[in-house]
Every structure is written in structure tokens, then in C-alpha cells.
């Protein structure tokens, strides 16, 4: 018996070693990993008594995780998750409404309309097409200008796109096509696009990174990642489709039932502060406080005009249905495409 209690004792000792001195906020996020450290440092510099512990994953995964933990939430704050996901959480009663300082500066599109708002927007991330110029030349591909162009058979097997089930970028693509082309036209468009897709990826960044290293010629991704990849040396050109591009905003909210309400509110105040906006602006050109926005290197200039009039509530409430339908149509393809 003595030997058998060893593992149990060791496990309990392990579990007990979780004590902490200063306040640690568990923050769930879908911010791009390359930005996390910067955001954390910026916040902790002005709030030295609070430490941020990130849990980062793709939008779909973090959303799934938050919903799976509905009855026993682990997160204190959600900072940097798609507004459509936060709308979903809000309807499940998982968010604590709070009006952060400086709320009045926000573009009205970038906040929950309730008062106080359940969530606030931070910046917009917008769909973009990443084209590898080296590969396009090698395969003799013309530069696409619109979503419609991508269905041209010349691009067969040259296009990668994120799976909307896991990727927030994939979902905003699909929901924007359904909003722009109508329910029927949208599915018809995706049927035709599907013929040219080489593979669907898990994350929204991957199509652009894969295009960057020539694994595919064209990646349907988002402008931030495209601009960042170009800066890293990828031979890419960014295209904003002429029909208009889907977008979603990165948003922040307090998770209901947190033990650290006061600290969570301070993080929310920071999340829409001028300082935070400048941090977002390093990668994102469109901000919740429009007058602070500065142009971003390699970022498409006409981003604001290209953004469609997105109906987030529609997207959130129909999310489940759109995803099932998408999965039924495209995800269960039996044969690989060659």
C-alpha cells in the first residue's frame, strides 16, 4: 500500500504548487502570437501589480473552449477575440457588462449597443488575398482582382483557404460572401471556389504563410498577416477583392463570475486606451478609435472603403447553421484533390 500512495501524494504536491503572490489574470485571446508579448508588456508596465497569463488559440478553438467551460469558466477576461464569438457568449450570459473609461471615443460600430456594453471592439481585421508573385509567374497565373476571379479554372489547385469551423478569418469570409451575394449566391460562389481549393487550413494565417513559402500560389487570409509576411521577406502581393471584403473586429469583454472584477476592469480600460490603440496600430490599420489610426507598412491603403457593411448579430446567430452547412458541403470530401 505504501508504494501505491506515492503517485497520489506526488500528484497532490503538484497541484498544491499553484500558489501565486500578485494578481494573475487569465486572459483568453485569439490575438496573433507575434503581438502577445508586446501587449502584455504594455499593460503590465502601467499595472505592475497585475500579471497577464495568456491562453491563445485560433478563434474557433478559443470560442469552443470558452463555451465548453461555460459552467466553470477559467478565463477572467477575453481580450482580442472576434466580436461574433463574444456576441455568442453574451447570448449565453457569459459576459459581465462594463463601460470602460473612454468608451465615448469608439466608433459606434465598435461596441455592443447595450448600455453598459457587454463587449467593446478594438480593431478590425479584414479579409485579403495573398498572391505569391514568384509562383504566379512560374505557373502563368494572372493577378486576381475580385472574389469572382478566384473561381477561374486557371487557379485550380492553387488556392488555400481557412476552414471556417476553426478559423475566425474563414468564418468572416464565408459570412461576408453570404451577406454580399445573398444566401443562394453565396453558396453557389463557394461551390465554384471549392473546385479551385487545394486545401482548407486550420488557421486564418496559414493560407498566407503557405502562399508566402510557395506551398500554394494564392492564400485567402487577412491583411494583417499578409503585411507581416511581406515584412518577413515573403514574395507576396496583397489584393482586396473589388466586391468588398468581410471583416470582424477583435473585441474585449469581462467573463462573468471572475474573482478579479477590479483588475479585469482595469484591463478593459487599458484595452481601449490610446496607448493600446497605438499597439494595435503596429499591425492593424483600422482601429476602434478611427482618429488614432496611422497607415501600416505593406497594409492595403483602401481598407476602410473595401470593408462591407457587416451584420455581426446575423453572423453570430447563424454561425452554427452556416458552419454545419459548410461542413456538410466541403469538409467531408472523400477524395483528395490532386
Amino acid at each position: 500500500m505504501r508504494i501505491l500512495t506515492l503517485p497520489a501524494a506526488a500528484l497532490i504536491a503538484l497541484a498544491a504548487a499553484q500558489a501565486n503572490a500578485q494578481t494573475t489574470l487569465t486572459v483568453y485571446t485569439a490575438f496573433e502570437a507575434d503581438d502577445l508579448q508586446r501587449f502584455k508588456e504594455a499593460f503590465e508596465a502601467s499595472n505592475p501589480d497585475i500579471e497577464i497569463e495568456w491562453v491563445r488559440d485560433s478563434t474557433g478553438i478559443i470560442t469552443a473552449r470558452l463555451l465548453a467551460e461555460r459552467d466553470n469558466p477559467q478565463a477572467d477576461v477575453v481580450w482580442g477575440l472576434a466580436a461574433t464569438s463574444l456576441l455568442l457568449m453574451d447570448s449565453e450570459g457569459m459576459l459581465e457588462a462594463y463601460a470602460p473609461a473612454g468608451l465615448e471615443r469608439l466608433d459606434p460600430r465598435f461596441r455592443d449597443e447595450a448600455d453598459p456594453p457587454a463587449w467593446v471592439g478594438l480593431d478590425a481585421w479584414i479579409a485579403a488575398i495573398c498572391v505569391n508573385t514568384v509562383e504566379a509567374e512560374r505557373h502563368g497565373l494572372p493577378m486576381p482582382a475580385s472574389w469572382e476571379d478566384l473561381t477561374d479554372p486557371v487557379y485550380e489547385n492553387h488556392v488555400a483557404m481557412p476552414n471556417p469551423n476553426s478559423s475566425g478569418t474563414g468564418f468572416l469570409d464565408v459570412s461576408s460572401w453570404l451577406q454580399m451575394f445573398g444566401e443562394e449566391g453565396g453558396w453557389d460562389y463557394m461551390d465554384r471556389l471549392h473546385q479551385n481549393i487545394r486545401y482548407y487550413t486550420h488557421s486564418g494565417s496559414k493560407p498566407c504563410r503557405d502562399a508566402g513559402r510557395g506551398e500554394v500560389s494564392i492564400g485567402i487570409s487577412f491583411a494583417f498577416r499578409g503585411a507581416r509576411s511581406i515584412a518577413e521577406g515573403a514574395p507576396l502581393e496583397l489584393v482586396l477583392a473589388s466586391e468588398g471584403v468581410g471583416w470582424d473586429m477583435e473585441a474585449a469583454a469581462i467573463v462573468a463570475g471572475t474573482d478579479f472584477q477590479e483588475e479585469a476592469e482595469r484591463l478593459m480600460d487599458f484595452a481601449i486606451s490610446d496607448e493600446a490603440m497605438r499597439e494595435y496600430n503596429v499591425g492593424y490599420a483600422v482601429l476602434a478609435v478611427p482618429e488614432l489610426a496611422q497607415p501600416v507598412e505593406h497594409y492595403p491603403e483602401n481598407a476602410l472603403e473595401a470593408m462591407i457593411d457587416s451584420d455581426f448579430l446575423w453572423a453570430a446567430t447563424n454561425r452554427e447553421r452556416i458552419l454545419s452547412e459548410w461542413q456538410e458541403r466541403y469538409d467531408s470530401k472523400s477524395e483528395p484533390q490532386n
Partner: protein
């Protein structure tokens, strides 16, 4: 009793029949300990899995006839009707005709056409269902049949949840949907082809290592273990670099794509190979030389000797290896995740259903289907075990191969080809990790090792992985070996031992993804007294030990089976308690097997992805999960770099282990040599 009966049946020397009354105290403590380990496995495996089973039979459908709506018009509530009536009146298609899942919601504002409620400013709804909870308004569920009043604006936000019931509807749907069903065929195809390739190769390889005097045997043994040192994602990443769109060997595929069955089979064969070799090495390394002396004396041809002595001797190992490889491949999701393309397999379906669709019920259905191979494996294993003969009887003479130039060269050739394939994939990953920007900028750089700038938790996850692997290896080895000893060498108590065997076999076929999710359901429930484990390192260790239980158990059991039960009988006749036999005879004799289990647990804890991908917390991110997350984000070169870090760590530990094996085992196993 199985082993004893087998020894009798095969005509081996009959052991002294145990005298029950003298042994009873020993028997009781062994039974007690068996029960303790069974309880551990019940909490770490069976109960969480039972929750998955429950989920698989949960079905959801909208019971709109249970929700009543009224309009406030001219100072009175009028037009009472259920939503089902409205559906009929407005010809509305509920949920666009799709099956409802737990997360599906309907909206009264969609069901009741705008035209019918143009002038209405106040609405009220009520929930008539006996279970309640159908109406979701402002984050609150309806908990009685009281009216809920809302204004026009709020009405648009009211949602209706589907009602839950239990039945086989999910399974019906699964088998009625060809797009889902096809994964079964795909998975079986991949697993069978891979097993068909791996088993003969692994057997030849293990034979070369144990039964020939080919040169460089220690080197080849090390090379064979290399794939075990890396996460299954890494060979897949290597294949993308070798055979992808920009790959250097892509022309070899003759136009076929690496994304699909070809890639899955190649990468699966790579990661499953050492598991087969490990089992076959144990099976082939213990044999009775007297059988070969007899064969030579009877002038049997080498082929005949092989067919009548070698193969039957390794039969148990072969069958174990077959099921281990088959189930490893069919339950792996790392490989199809990276190179699967649009070729769907069961393990990845679980991932997609659960993670993507958040459809836990359908994920549970696929998991249940994946459990079928485990039941088959268990049944066959039991049948074979009954016929197993103890090879290392008290009088056995260890086998020592004699020089044979042609044979040795043949096996050197086979092993070299396999070895080159293994090292080639690894080399490619190493190159990809140190190039600045493959394939456009081939200058050397350490950029890809700046993990703190990327997904997956950075360098901290690397440290966590090492801690987790050490805990898993030390706690796991002892627990698993001791358990195997109790179940193999105990007397009677067939019921308890059968349950134990069943429990010990199950983890192999339980996809890590399912185990991880089962753990969330089980441990994240605030009502569970073990809730405090959630989000800790401990849960990762428990999950990993449980996930890796089967192969370790089989390795221990195979080694123990080859020990004559006479050892126990003699000890019993000398009135020695079982723990003395265990610590003085079984453990020392099986020290090679135990040290193999330790290293197996360590390296697999370093490389496991699926089991822990849902369980890590911010303070316990892991290196292997970081590989997955970085690949997911398209940071494939840093993913390769982190994979190589895992490799170097595991290789370092493996070398230390090798030194340990040479020193300590050399001393304790000297009796095997003549």
C-alpha cells in the same frame, strides 16, 4: 491461471500446485492492490469515457410546440399560439432543415414573420416543457412556465434552445451520411496499409538486431528508436518539405500529391515503426537456444527452423505489434492534420466535430466507432494469451547467434534502407529549421527558434514538457509494471484480472483527443471532488500515463509472460511473500523491460499532442502542442524547429539511458550470457 494452464497444456514441466490455504494472505493483498489500480483506472479512464458515451446518445431537436407566444395589442394579450403553429402558418423551415445540435439556436423573430407582428410593441413567451430551459433571454434560461415579457427590440434577441433526449439518432445520422461514413473506410485503409508495411519491416529489423551478427547493431537500434523521439507531426512536416509543392523529392511522387493517403501512410509508417520494433525486440530477444540446438540436430532447413521455431516463438509479439500499430495509426490525428489534405479519417473527424463544430455528440459518436478496434484487439489478445507458452523456463538456455556472412549482409541492407528513410526525414526538418525563409532565402538563421514570438507558449512550454515527461516516466513505470506483475503472476481472482486487462487495453484505442475531452467533461465539473486537478500539471501527467498505459503494459506483460511461473511456485513453496519475489526476482529479471518502459513513457510524454491539447493551461503549455499550434498558424519552420528541440532532448535522455543500460543492465543481466 492462464499462464499456468498454458504451461501444462504445452507439456512443459508441471509447476507445484499452489497450496491455497498457505497463500491466502498473499492472495488477499495482491487482490487488494489489483482493486486499487482498477479504481485508479476507473477514475482516470472509465468514468471520463462513460461521459463521452453519454454524449454520443444525446440528441437534440426543437420542441417548438412547447413554447407559447402572445402579442400585446390594444391593452390585452392576444393571439396565443405555439411556435410550432407559427412554423406551420408561415411555412418556416426550422434550422434550415439541418439537424439540431447542442449549440443550435432558433429565433422566434425569424419564425414569426415580420408582417404578422408589425404593429406589436410587447411580446411574451413561456416555456411549457416539463424540463424547462427552452427559452434563452438575456443570458437566462426559462426555469418555470411563467410568462417572459419582452419589448420589440429584445424580442429579436430571444433564442430557443433545442430539447435534449437520449437515443441512437446520432448514430443513424452518422451512418446515413456518406460524407461522414466514408471516413471509416479511409481510416481502415490507411491503418491496414501502414500495418502491412510496418510489421514485416519491423520484424526484419528486429530480427537483424537480435538474431544476426550484422555490424553496427547498436547504431541501428538507436536509429530505429529515432521516430519515437519526435511528435508524429514532425515526420508529416518533413514530408511536406520533401514532397510538398516546393519539395526537393516531389518528382518521385510522379504527380501525386503528398496531401492525402500517400502522405498519411508514409508519415504513419515512420512514427509507428519503433513501436512495432520495440515489441518485436522483446519478443525475439528471449528465446530458448535448446530449441535451435534441437532443430540443428534434426537437420531442419533454416526456413523450417524459422517457420517452426522463430515465428511461433515471436507469435505473441507479432500479434501485439499488429494491433499496436493498427490502433496507433487509426487513432493518430497529428499526421492527417498536417498532410491529410481533404482525405478525412476518423481521428481527425473527432477533432473537426468537437473543435470546429463544437458538436460534442457527433465527436462522441465517432469516438465510439473508433473504440471498435480496441475491442477486437482485446479479444484477439486474450485468445492468443491463453495459448502463450513460457519461453524462458527455469532451465532455458539463452540464444546466441553465430556468424553467417550472407545473412548478416542481407539484414544490414534492409536495416540501412529503413535507417536512411528515418534519418532523411529528420535531416530535412533540421535544415528547414535553420534556413531563414525556405525556399526563397537559404541563408542560415536562428529566427525559427524565437519561440516566444510565436504560438504555443514559447520556451516555457519546452520546460513544462520536460517536467511533465519526468513525472510521467517515474510514476508511470512503477505503476504500470507493478500492475502488470499483479495481473500476470497473481493467482485466481479471474474476474478482477479480466477487468484489469480490459481497462489496461482500452487506452490504446482511445484517441487522445477523446481522452482529453472526456477529461474536460469529467474534471471541469465543479461538482467533481477531483475538480482541483483541472488546469494543473497533475492532470497532464495522469492523462498521459493513462493514454500510454497499453503499450507499456504490453511490454511489461510480454516480458513477464516469458518468465516461468515456476519462480512464483518455488517462492511460494519457500513461503516467501509475493513482494519479495517481485522485488528480488521479477523486477531484476525484467529490468531491461522496465527501463524500456521508462524511456517509452518519457519520450512519448515529450511528444504526445492529442491527449493534452485540450488540457494544458497557461502555466502548463507543452512543446509538442506548440508544434501543433505553430504548424496550424502556418509557422511550419518554427514548428520543425520546436520538433527538433524535442528530438534533441529525447535523444540526450536516450543517450543517458543507454549509458545507464550498459552500466547497470550489463551488471544485472550478466547471467543471460554464457
Amino acid at each position: 491461471m492462464a499462464t499456468v494452464e498454458a504451461a501444462y497444456g504445452a507439456g512443459a514441466t508441471a509447476p507445484a500446485k499452489p497450496i491455497k490455504s498457505k497463500l491466502s494472505r498473499d492472495d488477499y493483498s495482491m487482490r487488494g492492490l489489483i482493486v486499487v489500480i482498477i479504481v485508479y483506472l476507473a477514475f482516470a479512464l472509465i468514468l471520463p469515457l462513460a461521459l463521452v458515451l453519454t454524449k454520443s446518445v444525446q440528441t437534440y431537436h426543437f420542441t417548438l410546440d412547447q413554447v407559447e407566444v402572445e402579442f400585446f395589442r390594444d391593452g390585452a394579450w392576444v393571439e396565443r399560439a405555439t411556435l410550432a403553429d407559427w412554423v406551420e402558418r408561415s411555412d418556416y423551415e426550422v434550422n434550415h432543415g439541418l439537424r439540431a445540435s447542442e449549440r443550435t439556436r432558433e429565433q422566434p423573430a425569424q419564425i414569426i414573420p415580420r408582417g404578422a407582428r408589425q404593429d406589436i410593441e410587447q411580446f411574451r413567451l413561456r416555456d411549457l416543457s416539463p424540463e424547462k430551459g427552452l427559452i434563452l433571454h438575456a443570458g437566462d434560461l426559462s426555469d418555470s412556465d411563467a410568462w417572459i415579457e419582452v419589448d420589440r427590440r429584445e424580442f429579436a434577441r430571444v433564442q430557443i434552445r433545442p430539447a435534449r433526449s437520449y437515443g441512437l439518432g446520432n448514430f443513424d445520422h452518422y451512418f446515413a451520411t456518406p460524407a461522414l461514413r466514408v471516413s471509416i473506410v479511409n481510416s481502415l485503409t490507411i491503418a491496414l496499409i501502414t500495418t502491412g508495411i510496418v510489421i514485416p519491416l519491423a520484424f526484419a529489423y528486429a530480427y537483424g538486431l537480435t538474431r544476426t551478427l550484422m555490424p553496427l547493431r547498436p547504431v541501428f537500434k538507436t536509429i530505429a528508436m529515432v521516430p519515437i523521439l519526435v511528435p508524429s507531426l514532425l515526420p508529416a512536416i518533413g514530408l511536406v518539405y520533401l514532397f510538398g509543392n516546393q519539395g526537393i523529392l516531389t518528382p518521385l511522387l510522379m504527380g501525386e500529391s503528398i496531401y492525402g493517403p500517400i502522405g498519411i501512410v508514409m508519415a504513419s509508417a515512420f512514427f509507428a515503426f519503433p513501436h512495432a520494433v520495440l515489441i518485436l525486440l522483446v519478443a525475439l530477444s528471449v528465446t530458448d537456444a535448446r530449441l535451435y540446438e534441437a532443430a540443428t540436430a534434426l537437420r531442419a532447413s533454416p526456413l523450417r527452423t524459422f517457420l517452426t521455431v522463430t515465428l511461433p516463438g515471436a507469435r505473441y509479439g507479432l500479434i501485439s505489434a499488429f494491433f499496436v500499430v493498427f490502433t496507433l495509426v487509426i487513432t493518430d490525428f497529428g499526421v492527417p492534420k498536417v498532410v491529410g489534405g481533404q482525405y478525412n479519417v476518423l481521428a481527425l473527424d473527432i477533432y473537426r466535430q468537437v473543435i470546429g463544430q463544437q458538436n460534442f455528440q457527433m465527436g462522441a459518436v465517432v469516438s465510439m466507432i473508433l473504440l471498435v478496434p480496441a475491442i477486437v484487439a482485446f479479444t484477439v489478445d486474450r485468445m492468443v494469451t491463453r495459448r502463450q507458452v513460457a519461453l524462458l523456463s527455469a532451465r532455458a538456455v539463452p540464444y546466441q547467434p553465430k556468424p553467417h556472412r550472407q545473412r548478416d549482409l542481407t539484414f544490414l541492407g534492409i536495416c540501412s534502407v529503413v535507417g536512411l528513410f528515418i534519418l532523411g526525414i529528420l535531416l530535412m526538418c533540421q535544415l528547414a529549421a535553420v534556413f531563414q525563409f525556405w525556399p526563397y532565402d537559404l541563408s542560415l538563421s536562428l529566427r525559427n527558434f524565437a519561440f516566444n514570438q510565436m504560438d504555443g507558449g514559447g520556451w516555457a512550454s519546452y520546460g513544462n514538457s520536460i517536467r511533465m515527461a519526468l513525472y510521467t516516466a517515474f510514476i508511470g513505470t512503477f505503476l504500470i509494471f507493478f500492475g502488470a506483475y499483479l495481473v500476470e503472476k497473481g493467482n485466481g481472482f479471474t474476474k478482477g484480472r479480466s477487468i484489469f486487462q480490459l481497462f489496461a487495453m482500452m487506452p490504446m484505442a482511445v484517441p487522445g483527443m477523446v481522452l482529453g475531452l472526456a477529461y474536460i467533461f469529467f474534471f471541469n465539473d465543479p461538482a467533481n471532488p477531483f475538480n482541483f486537478l483541472y488546469g494543473t500539471m497533475a492532470i497532464l501527467v495522469i492523462c498521459t500515463i493513462t493514454h500510454l498505459y497499453t503499450v507499456s503494459h504490453l511490454t511489461a506483460a510480454t516480458a513477464l509472460k516469458q518468465m516461468d511461473p515456476e519462480f512464483e511456485a518455488v517462492a511460494a513453496s519457500l513461503k516467501q511473500p509475493f513482494w519479495r519475489t517481485f522485488s528480488r526476482v521479477s523486477m531484476p529479471v525484467c529490468l531491461p523491460a522496465m527501463s524500456e518502459i521508462w524511456i517509452y513513457l518519457f519520450v512519448n510524454a515529450m511528444t504526445t499532442v492529442s491527449a493534452v491539447v485540450f488540457l494544458y493551461s497557461p502555466s502548463t503549455t507543452l512543446a509538442s502542442v506548440a508544434v501543433l499550434n505553430m504548424d496550424d498558424a502556418g509557422d511550419i519552420a518554427p514548428a520543425a524547429a520546436m520538433g527538433m528541440m524535442i528530438f534533441y532532448t529525447n535523444a540526450g535522455v536516450r543517450i543517458l539511458h543507454h549509458i545507464f543500460a550498459n552500466r547497470v543492465l550489463g551488471r544485472t543481466q550478466a547471467w543471460r550470457m554464457r
